[in-house]
């Protein structure tokens, strides 16, 4: 999700929906670039569930990348086959609970103002 806000009023003026934004989407903008700024909330993989040799395993994304790197060093015939069953993503934002709520209901962002120094979303008008 990318949240655009007015630098002067700190009001949220636009939202791009989604969890993982492409380079094209990161080039996009809402409003006048001189008077607006944005918060980019990318979601990153943190855990993976994989199936190897008849068993399923949970692993952190880092452990999984390390395991893949080692497997790929082996001759192809020796590399173990695997199937990814699930990948768990989490938002890269200090308030993960809020980021999850916004992911479910993006228009909720308009109930917040942005603190431009911390990029935190603060409820406006006492809305919780």
């Amino acid at each position: 999700m990318i949240i655009f806000y007015d630098k002067q009023t700190r009001d949220v003026i636009g939202v791009f929906e989604g969890r993982v934004h492409s380079d094209d989407q990161l080039k996009a903008w809402v409003g006048d670039r001189d008077h607006t700024n944005r918060i980019v909330i990318q979601w990153k993989p943190v855990m993976v569930v994989v199936y190897i040799n008849g068993r399923s395993f949970d692993a952190s994304w880092t452990e999984w990348q390390e395991w893949l790197a080692k497997e790929e060093q082996k001759p192809i015939a020796s590399q173990r086959a695997y199937k990814i069953l699930n990948i768990i993503y989490e938002p890269e934002y200090h308030d993960k609970e809020l980021a999850n709520k916004l992911d479910q209901n993006p228009t909720l962002a308009y109930s917040y103002k942005v603190n431009p120094e911390t990029l935190a979303l603060e409820p406006k008008d006492g809305i919780q």
Partner: protein, 127 residues
């Protein structure tokens, strides 16, 4: 690569019975989102720089805090808000797309502070 609809043999299905075929261009969404503006009367231009290197096809809906929370497909005839005939509207000439921006011009009702929210879907298909 092809995926057929349930009940159809993927090897023999006609194109209209496919869910997906790599032989045909797919109209997937490049960007979707919302933008909101609050003001009393007058008009406002929402500008969305889409970041694509071509002029894409788009769909736009909007709603207004004064008239209706339902999403109305834009362009549309005006939503009349009061006995003076003041309207909230996004007309056919008010949605403009080029290789840089989607511009949507919204006209606000006079006499009351109103929030117009637009919802847009910008596709990976060139006009």
């Amino acid at each position: 690569m092809k995926i057929s609809q349930p009940g159809y043999n993927v090897k023999t299905a006609d194109p209209q019975n496919l869910v997906f075929s790599s032989a045909f261009a797919t109209m997937n969404i490049a960007l979707q989102g919302t933008a909101a503006r609050t003001q009393n009367g007058g008009s406002y231009t929402f500008t969305i720089a889409h970041g694509l290197a071509f002029t894409p096809f788009a769909l736009v809906y909007y709603n207004t805090s004064v008239y209706s929370t339902a999403w109305v497909f834009a362009p549309t005839a005006g939503l009349i808000n009061n006995s003076n005939g003041d309207q909230t509207q996004i007309d056919s000439s008010d949605i403009r797309m080029d290789a840089t921006n989607l511009n949507v011009i919204a006209s606000f009702n006079n006499g009351v502070s109103e929030t117009i929210t637009i919802r847009y879907y910008i596709f990976n298909v060139s006009i």
